[in-house]
Symmetry: C2
């Protein structure tokens, strides 16, 4: 079953995004060599990764864009729409709630919570900001499995605890802090300072 290494899984969304762009250009078939040049990932790597999920390629031609796109969406479980809960509606949370890139890629911000009375009740994007005190119940009742944390650092771990308690199993964390969560909960980090510092090392 899940004998597919995480490094491979972590590249699948990148392949998917590239294939969507390639389809938008009107191409119906793409070779691993061509993909390699577009992504900076070796052609051998791409073929090996994709072969773990089935034989989608055709010798002499390459990979059919539409069929491979569909297959990747299926394997990544984004051939459906995931409801997402957002915690923290500051500048960043606001931007996330209005971000146009989610709906077409499997995600919908379904609820947003904040603790600031000034924000509670206001609208952002398609939804109304709710009181974080009711978050656990609301998340649980709606069976939401994906959360985004856009609170200040000092509120992030508590937000994570509440979300995990409420059943969330995947967390996207923008706060500049490592989150401690149970083993069956996934966390991905998007603190912008980290990648910036990774680059200044080389400057």
């Amino acid at each position: 079953m899940s004998e597919i290494p995480h490094v491979v899984v972590s590249r699948l969304p990148i392949y998917l995004r590239a294939l969507e762009n390639i389809a938008a250009e009107g191409l119906t078939c793409i070779s691993s060599q061509e993909l390699s040049e577009r992504l900076g990932i070796s052609a051998a790597q791409i073929r090996k990764d994709l072969s773990m999920f089935g034989e989608y390629g055709k010798q002499g031609r390459g990979y059919p864009v539409a069929a491979l796109t569909e297959a990747l969406r299926r394997h990544l479980h984004v051939d459906r729409m995931w409801d997402v809960v957002l915690v923290g509606v500051g500048d960043l949370g606001h931007a996330l709630a209005r971000y146009k890139g989610f709906p077409d890629h499997g995600f919908r911000i379904a609820m947003a919570f904040d603790k600031d009375p000034e924000k509670i009740g206001t609208r952002v994007g398609e939804i109304e900001v709710e009181d974080v005190r009711y978050m656990a119940r609301r998340v649980q009742e709606n069976g939401i499995l994906v959360g985004m944390i856009a609170t200040p650092a000092n509120a992030a771990q508590e937000a994570a605890n509440t979300l995990v308690f409420a059943g969330v199993r995947a967390l996207l964390n923008y706060a500049p802090i490592h989150l401690t969560v149970p083993d069956d909960v996934r966390v991905e980090y998007l603190d912008p300072v980290i990648p910036l510092q990774r680059m200044t090392y080389y400057l």
Copy 2:
């Protein structure tokens, strides 16, 4: 010289962030074991990584927080302030320009550009949005080496080209597209859809 593997470099900002939090808690010394529990990185890994930069630890006690923090800042070149150019002042660019986490960690948004006449001339954070047509010259004149791209996907590659032409050598890209740049330019990606899809694979 640069015989330090990139995987190691990529963990340094994470150690630095943790040490800053640990210092804020008032601790002056921390063992690799304790750090391991906080970060989910093995103690052996942490010791091996840190030993590549010098012998900061004391047997029996652990690592002195202040000295190690300072050393990491130095190695990452964030013991100075980097001026950053921001391209694209939509919701996300707006949030980035006002983000409080940059100044204390080595970065200052020094300029912001957009092509929308409605936005040009408005203020965001500490700065005024400028016309993207003058970006190359302004960036070059100020010797800016770090850029952040928060434009729509279809404008991102052109923004990158302009920035690279103007001398930028490190790019943080929020647009959902792979950027093609010369070998001596670093790019890090922060498209939020990618990490979300990495997690839904396991749901």
